[in-house]
Symmetry: none
Subunit: 122 residues, 2 copies
């Protein structure tokens, strides 16, 4: 079986979605999108302790969403967005359904067209 096309094992999706379910972690990811940062810098914007941020970073790293790079006495966190693709691919399976209202709209339009056509045939 082709690794490239294989579906991600569900445990990986578990970790990715769980990591994304926390607003602090999403903020951290957003910050990292603009470049790597040491832990201290990631603590600043939040009203939580440094160990709390370190724990969030561990959750993100376990999900594969950040990598760590020792840099002197600090440890830079890098965004590693690749696993998000698995999450995005999962959601894409439902795209057809979240356009359902468009489908409904389509039905309404079809009905209107139908009515219009009937009128035209009067």
């Amino acid at each position: 079986m082709n690794i490239i096309e294989s579906k991600p094992d569900t445990a990986a999706l578990d970790r990715i979605f769980a990591a994304l379910a926390d607003p602090t972690r999403r903020e951290i990811l957003r910050r990292l999108a603009s470049g790597p940062a040491p832990v201290g810098e990631l603590v600043e914007p939040f009203d939580i302790s440094q160990p709390a941020v370190s724990k969030h970073l561990r959750v993100l790293a376990d999900a594969g969403l950040v990598s760590r790079e020792p840099r002197g006495q600090q440890r830079l966190a890098h965004l590693s967005a690749a696993p998000m693709r698995a999450a995005s691919d999962y959601l894409a399976e439902f795209k057809a359904h979240w356009d359902a209202r468009l489908d409904q709209l389509g039905a309404v339009l079809a009905e209107l067209v139908s009515i219009t056509e009937r009128k035209e045939h009067d």
Copy 2:
């Protein structure tokens, strides 16, 4: 502020991602993608109790991912995928980062910068 373009409040994203973080719930959603189903039918494929499934359905409903329709003595669960769009939109912010080649390029550039800086300090 335009409701249509407003970003989803973070609590909504919390619930959506958390709902998606459980493999049983993802299986339920996949089943519902092929049409509404009563609770009993959703229990069958799993080795867990009916109340457990009812609780999963409540989590999914709280996230807006399923709606319930009483139908006689059963309660049909319908997929309601619209909120997934918010999750998908969130992930889309990172698309530029999850391309593997861009990641590698980024790493290479970082390395070059690192080397350059070291040289500058010589």
